[in-house]
């Protein structure tokens, strides 16, 4: 399939001036600034086919937002190129941005004091959306994002969830081909998150919009994305389908044992028995249930089960499938070679 987004060896460096503490440090910084270069994005290459929803994940400070800012033309890359729908964002910016929608969850792009309805009217002019299209579009966005209840309120009076929906609607007003969402669900409650996910899914399904979203919430990833790109310290550490991630790195299992006598819990000492570290295994207890989460590379499922059964009386047991969250935690801890 043809690629909508294409990034080749993108890099972005920021210069940071390091100031030593105290007056002496300030004076020194003035005459001989000690500069440190932060490699926020350190050679990232990836592409996104038309119509895909790509999840962009990684720990705080990994460089996700910086990549988004380069793709949207806000930042000029230190080196490397990106091309979206055949256009280079930094060239001919004004024409390029007509084709994209951008939302930064952390800060609104709307006018603080304008009523939401007025805000959209101004954006309509900025993007030159014709009257009939605008009306249809507003009806559609109203329905998908449920804006009706607050459309006459000034943006400053909206709750975080309302504001986020308002921002997403604003980014979709001109029917962009590509939608960039940086942390679109940050700080929201479950109901709003669900609403936003549905909206993203619908826009993607009905209009074939290509979407890149960064998130901390792994349910966003599981519910929305077929594919993820994971970055850490400015570098790409994984790029592939979620099923692939599970297959290749899914060596974490969770076993739940329901004990006959819950105080028996004390008898179980997996770490000593199998000589394991905190990274290999974690044990939680909830009343009569013991939840053992472990790495199958360090200890097998069979060993855990037979040790447990031979040590305590077990009423019931179940095996939980690998959770993506576990894999990602491991990847963050850089335990997986890529």
């Amino acid at each position: 399939m043809e690629n909508m987004i294409y990034a080749d060896d993108l890099r972005k460096e920021f210069k940071k001036i390091i100031k030593e503490p105290g007056i002496k440090g300030s004076v020194k910084a003035l005459f001989k600034p000690h500069k440190e270069i932060v490699k926020a994005v350190d050679g990232i290459t990836f592409s996104v086919p038309k119509g895909e929803i790509l999840g962009f994940i990684g720990p705080n400070g990994a460089g996700k937002s910086t990549v988004i800012k380069m793709l949207t033309g806000i930042l000029t890359p230190t080196s490397g190129t990106c091309r979206i729908n055949g256009k280079i964002p930094q060239e001919d910016r004004k024409n390029y941005v007509r084709e994209i929608g951008v939302v930064f969850g952390q800060r609104t792009q709307l006018w603080w004091d304008l009523a939401l309805r007025e805000t959209y009217a101004v954006l309509k002019e900025i993007y030159q959306v014709p009257d009939d299209k605008y009306k249809k579009r507003m009806d559609f966005l109203n329905e998908v994002l449920e804006l009706d209840s607050f459309i006459t309120s000034p943006v400053r009076t909206l709750s975080l969830g309302q504001r986020m929906r308002a921002d997403i609607a604003a980014s979709l007003l001109h029917s962009p081909k590509v939608l960039f969402l940086d942390e679109p669900t940050i700080g929201l409650d479950v109901v709003v998150k669900e609403n936003i996910r549905n909206a993203i899914r619908r826009i993607n399904a009905e209009e074939g919009t290509t979407v890149i979203l960064t998130t901390h919430d792994l349910s966003d990833i599981e519910l929305l994305c077929e594919r993820i790109v994971m970055v850490d310290k400015g570098k790409k550490v994984f790029d592939g389908a979620i099923s692939e991630l599970k297959r290749d790195y899914g060596d974490v299992r969770t076993l739940n044992f329901e004990l006959v006598n819950s105080p028996d819990f004390k008898l179980l000492d997996y770490k000593r028995r199998f000589n394991l570290t905190d990274d290999d295994i974690s044990v939680e207890r909830d009343k009569g249930t013991v939840k053992v989460r472990f790495d199958t590379a360090a200890v097998s499922v069979e060993e855990i089960i037979s040790y447990t059964l031979s040590t305590v009386h077990v009423k019931d047991l179940n095996i939980k499938d690998v959770e993506i969250e576990e894999i990602i935690k491991k990847l963050y801890r850089r335990e997986v070679r890529v």
């Binding site: 920021f14 400070g61 937002s65 800012k69 949207t72 033309g73 806000i74 930042l75 000029t76 930094q90 910016r93 004004k94 024409n95 941005v97 007509r98 994209i100 951008v102 930064f104 952390q106 800060r107 792009q109 006018w111 004091d113 304008l114 007025e118 009217a121 101004v122 002019e125 900025i126 993007y127 030159q128």
Partner: protein, 262 residues
Amino acid sequence: MRYFRLHRIFIAQYLKKLMEYKADFLLGAVGLLFAQAIQLIFIGIIFSQIPDLRGWTYEQILFIYGFSLISKSLDHLFTDNLWMVGYRIIRKGDFDKYLTRPINTLFHVIAENFCVDAFGEMLTCVLLLCVSIPKLNMPFHWYTIPLWIVAAIFATLIYTSLKIITAAIAFWTKSSGHITHMLYMANDFSKYPVSIYNRFVQIVITYILPFAFTAYFPASYFLTGKDPLFCIGGTVVAGSLLFALALFVWNRGLKAYESAGS
């Protein structure tokens, strides 16, 4: 055309917002009017003691002062948001949104805000001109009014361009409001005849920060009819050159913009 339309829309939105914050607006305008009144009383006191200054009469000085407020107040009314660019918008990363919209960034950021406080200055301006002009025997031709308009436009362009340049410095330094502030202190020199200053100040406000072309030079042409080429032509040239420079610096700044980490 599209930009004019957008500008109208921004103004309309601004006025709506104003209605919401009536008290705020009134306070601002009254405050500025008050500040202007104090300045005027100050000039009045000085000139009631000295009948003329380096060959300029009291009325002529009032005229030059009033003329200086034309461009100053126009710039103040329309481009006040540039202050915010230097103080806050770039540093906080709020400039991002302008870069994701399909219109000129400079136009967008300027059009977004109006400063009705400037009406205080405008009122003073009109007052000073109305008081001084009848007492002055100024040359008048058919082209005098068009020249006024040209002078006002390019003088405003001088102000605005200098403000654009100092605001754009923040693209590299993150914050440059203090530089714009210093610029505004220099512009105070332009309210009075340039001839009262020493050589150094004269050169600075004529050729480096050409504030003299926002008031003294064009005003002295309208007063005396002498030197139109230098006085009005100079304003046009200074305004055009500075505006070209401002656009250049702004566009380079956009490439240097670093946004802000979150």
